[in-house]
Structures are given as C-alpha cells and as structure tokens.
C-alpha cells in the first residue's frame, strides 16, 4: 500500500511540475503539440526511472560505504549526463522526427532539475531501491501527465483570441499557474503515507 502511495503522491499530490515546480524548461518547451508532449514525456520517464535506480545503486553501494555522501550531487550529475547521452543516441536512431523536435531539449534533460531533483529527493527521503524506482517513475509519469494535459490545453488556446501581449509563452505560464492552483486541491491527500 505504501508503494502505491509513493506513486500516487508523486503523480498527483506532489506533482513534479505543478507542486514541486521542477522541470519547467521542457514543460514549457515541448508542450506545444500533444505528440511532442507524449514523446518528451516518454523520454523523461525513461531517463528518470533509469536515473533514479542507478543513482540509488551508486549512492547506496558506492558513496555511503566509503563515506562519500558529500559527492552525491556531483556523482548524480555525471550519471545522469551519461544516461541522457545514451538515451539521445537511441532516440536519434529510432525516431528522427522526435530527435529533431527534442533536439534542443534532450541535452537539457541533463540539466533538467527534475531529473536531478528526484533522485536527490529520494536519497533524502531514504527510499529503498524499489521505492526510489517507483518514486522516479511516479514523478516522471506525473511530469508526462502534466505535459500531456498542458499540451491539450495549449492546443485549444491556440485558437483563442488571446490579447496580443499575452500570446505564446505568457498565456502558457498563466495556464500553468491555473493548473498548479488546481493541483493544490490534492494537498493533504498523501498524509496517510509517512
């Protein structure tokens, strides 16, 4: 049950975008179209789950035994950079259009605070391997979820008579704000866990 709450909490209650306000760069950048959003979400899910697991392993079996926890951030950054590179190569091979669309953003996953933040958070929470993986996966699903919903709304706003000063990114930011407001409604739903 507590595993379920980890996922539930990560997807909805502490949604990485709307509540933790992490990973806004790809959130704004890749949400113009639903297809792009789904692609980016899947890429992030892949990277983030992998990164959570790998980071846990490195943290638990390498850093902690040798008392190197102060290197955690550094080590995680290197790990994530490597994983992102591999992901990029794979996407480059398998889906050229996605690669081009995500071209600017894939390297950015390296510096996507969500991808670094989630493994760090789970290290701080003292999660085990499975929990770390679930937390990483849940957060990434939350990210994807947010991205897809946001893309849907943006596609609709595209047709709206938005004041010129607010067209494009400003109204998207407003929308993200309203969505964040809506997600605040879930506050307190994760108190059964912990």
């Amino acid at each position: 049950m507590s595993y379920l709450f980890v996922i539930f909490g990560a997807v909805l209650v502490n949604n990485v975008v709307f509540v933790r306000i992490l990973g806004l760069c790809p959130f704004m950048g890749t949400s113009k179209k639903l297809d792009t959003a789904i692609g980016m979400g899947m890429a992030t899910t892949f990277v983030l789950t992998l990164a959570s697991g790998t980071c846990y392993l490195v943290d638990h079996y390498l850093l902690k035994p040798f008392d190197l926890s102060y290197l955690r951030t550094l080590a995680f950054i290197v790990l994530i950079a490597g994983i992102v590179q591999i992901t990029e190569l794979i996407i480059h091979k398998t889906s050229p259009a996605l690669q081009q669309v995500l071209g600017i953003f894939l390297p950015l996953i390296t510096t996507n605070c969500a991808v670094l933040g989630i493994p760090l958070l789970s290290a701080n929470f003292g999660y085990g391997l499975l929990e770390s993986l679930l937390f990483g996966f849940g957060s990434a699903v939350g990210f994807t979820f947010a991205l897809i919903l946001f893309a849907g709304i943006r596609e609709r706003i595209d047709g709206a008579d938005v004041p010129i000063a607010f067209r494009g990114v400003p109204i998207a930011m407003m929308t993200a704000g309203f969505m964040s407001l809506a997600f605040m409604g879930f506050a307190g739903l994760d108190r059964f866990h912990n």
Partner: protein, 331 residues
C-alpha cells in the same frame, strides 16, 4: 450574404438570463434561511464583474455593448457570490471577481474561449490566499441583516456566535476526532439531509436546475454525471463503513454540490463537448470533489475538482469525439 438566410430567434443573452432566473429559487432560499446579506454580496459582485468586463473589453478594443449585455459576466458574478461565504468582506468578493473576469476569462480571449471555469478559478485562488476568511460562514439565523452588511463592508470581524461550522466542516472535524458519523449528525448543525437550513438552499438550486433542464439550456448528462460520480463514491464507502463515511445524500445536499451539479459543471465553455464526454467530465468532478472533501485539507473540493477536470477536457474531447452518421462501427 450567405446561407442560411434565415435564423431562429435566439441569443446568448436569452441563455444567460435563463440561467440567472434559474438561480433565483436558490437565492430566495438563501435569503430566507441565512439572511439578506447575500443580496449585498450579489450586488457587489455584479457591479465589479460588469466594471471589469467593460474595462477589459475597452483595453482589448472589442465591441463593448454586445458582450457586456450578454449577461455572461453577471452569471459568473452571481456564482462567485454564491460560493463565497455570504459575510465575506467586499474586497474579497471583488478580488475574486477580478481574478475570474480579468485573469481566467479575458486573458484567454473573453467569453467562450477560457479553458478554466472563471468562478471556480476565483474560488480556488481566494481559498488558497485567504483560507481563514473563506471558512467563516454565517450560521443559520446567526446574524441579522445589519450585522451581515457590517461584516461585508469590512467591519471588525468579531464573529463569535455569528458564524458556525458548515456541515462539511463539522463532519470533517468530527471524523478527525474519531467520532462516528451518527453521533456527529446528532449535533445541531445538521438538518434532515445536509447542513440545517443549507439543505433548503440546495433544494432551491435543484428546482432551478430542473427549470434549466426543462428549458433545454443544459442537458441531463452533466447533472446526472455529477450526481452519479459523487453518489457512487460516497455510496460505496458509506455501505462499507457507515460509521466513518457519511451518506451520499449528505454529500449531495451539503456544500456546493447542487449548485455545482446544475450551474457549475454545466458551464458549456469549459466543459467537454460530446454527450459522453460531458458525463465523464461531470462524473470526474463528482469523484474528485468527494475525494478532496473526504481526504483533502480544503473544506469543499468542488472548485478544485472542476479546475482539475477543466484541465482534462481537451483529452476527454479527443477520446470521446463522436463519429458522424454512417461512420459508426456497427454494434
């Protein structure tokens, strides 16, 4: 001049006025049970909404009169006034109206183009910003008209004896204190279905809603979806553990449930487009509202639930787009 060259006499204005008329039974019950203070709030909200609408139309260089007179701003204003506590200070109402009209509505292009329900966005923003003020509800017969007006106009908020816990609050506090539903319902706050007095207001909204259905301003999918969604969740848990979960009737009669079922989820602009989509949308609002009421920290989850389902509308529309004649898969 292009076809069709003839049109049925109908207008957005007529639709909006019908909605306003349908709200009257609920408002009458409100005045009867809680006091006439709500009328002051309604007036303040209406004035603020019309002023904000006019200002925005002017700034955006859009035709002023035709949109101002369509009544949509008034509907938003009335809904905000009805979901905010009727003794909320005037500036709270005005701020809420501004959030609704300026931010949630006009920044998206005005009537018909906003993805979020303006009134609900205003409620959420207000409850996040002013949680204390937003939970001070007048108790039934607790304050006379003068006191209510005094409070609305920003008078010192000595509120002991004037406010009372709403049914949802009393139920939540009781349950947190490990009391069982039955003993909580025994306290004086509750009437035969929901909060004492408030259930009549809910009944007023219900009557108004039936009027809207009869006038074909709304379709049955939305109210029924909401009632089924909320009723189903409440019903399942109530049947399993009646001592810790109140009945579906309680949920549907308290808080803004009836207002939501007939006047809030039925906002066509921010809702789903197909019949099936409408049902899913409304049921989702009912389910999420119940979850937030039962497990969340906010007193009534309807506004958050509506916003959350507003977010899902594009996806619902995509998933439930009906096939045209002849394109349907044969059953």
């Amino acid at each position: 001049m292009t076809s069709p060259h003839t049109r049925q006499p109908d207008s957005v204005q007529r639709i909006m006025i019908t909605v306003l008329v349908a709200l009257l039974p609920g408002i009458a019950a409100y005045v009867w049970q809680v006091g006439a203070g709500i009328l002051v709030n309604l007036a303040i909200a209406t004035a603020a909404a019309l002023a904000a609408e006019a200002l925005m139309l002017r700034l955006r260089k859009r035709p002023l009169w035709i949109t101002l007179s369509d009544g949509s701003a008034v509907v938003t204003a009335w809904l905000i006034a009805l979901i905010l506590p009727s003794i909320a200070p005037w500036w709270l109402t005005v701020t809420g109206v501004l959030v609704a009209i300026v931010m949630a509505k006009h920044l998206y292009g005005g009537i018909g183009q906003n993805p979020f329900n303006p009134a609900m966005a205003a409620y959420c923003a207000m409850i996040v910003a002013y949680p204390a003020l937003m939970s001070q509800w007048p108790s039934v017969d607790g304050a006379d008209f003068a006191t209510q007006v005094h409070l609305i106009l920003g008078g010192s908020r000595e509120i002991d004896g004037i406010t009372g816990a709403t049914a949802l609050d009393a139920m939540r506090t009781g349950l947190r204190n490990q009391n069982d539903v039955h003993s909580i319902l025994g306290t004086g706050v509750f009437g035969f279905a929901g909060g004492r007095g408030w259930e009549w207001i809910a009944a007023g909204y219900f009557v108004g809603g039936l009027f809207l259905l009869a006038r074909r301003v709304i379709t049955w999918h939305l109210p029924l979806g909401f009632i089924v969604g909320m009723g189903l969740m409440a019903g399942i848990f109530w049947l399993v553990a009646p001592e810790s979960f109140p009945s579906p009737l309680f949920h549907l009669a308290s808080g803004g449930a009836m207002l939501a079922a007939f006047f809030i989820v039925t906002d066509p602009v921010t809702g789903a487009s197909s019949s099936l989509g409408k049902f899913i949308f409304a049921a989702g609002v009912g389910i999420i509202a119940w979850i937030i009421r039962t497990f969340g920290v906010y007193p009534d989850g309807i506004a958050f639930a509506v916003l959350l389902m507003n977010i899902c509308v594009p996806l619902i529309n995509r998933a439930t787009q009906p096939a045209p004649v002849g394109k349907r898969k044969s059953p």
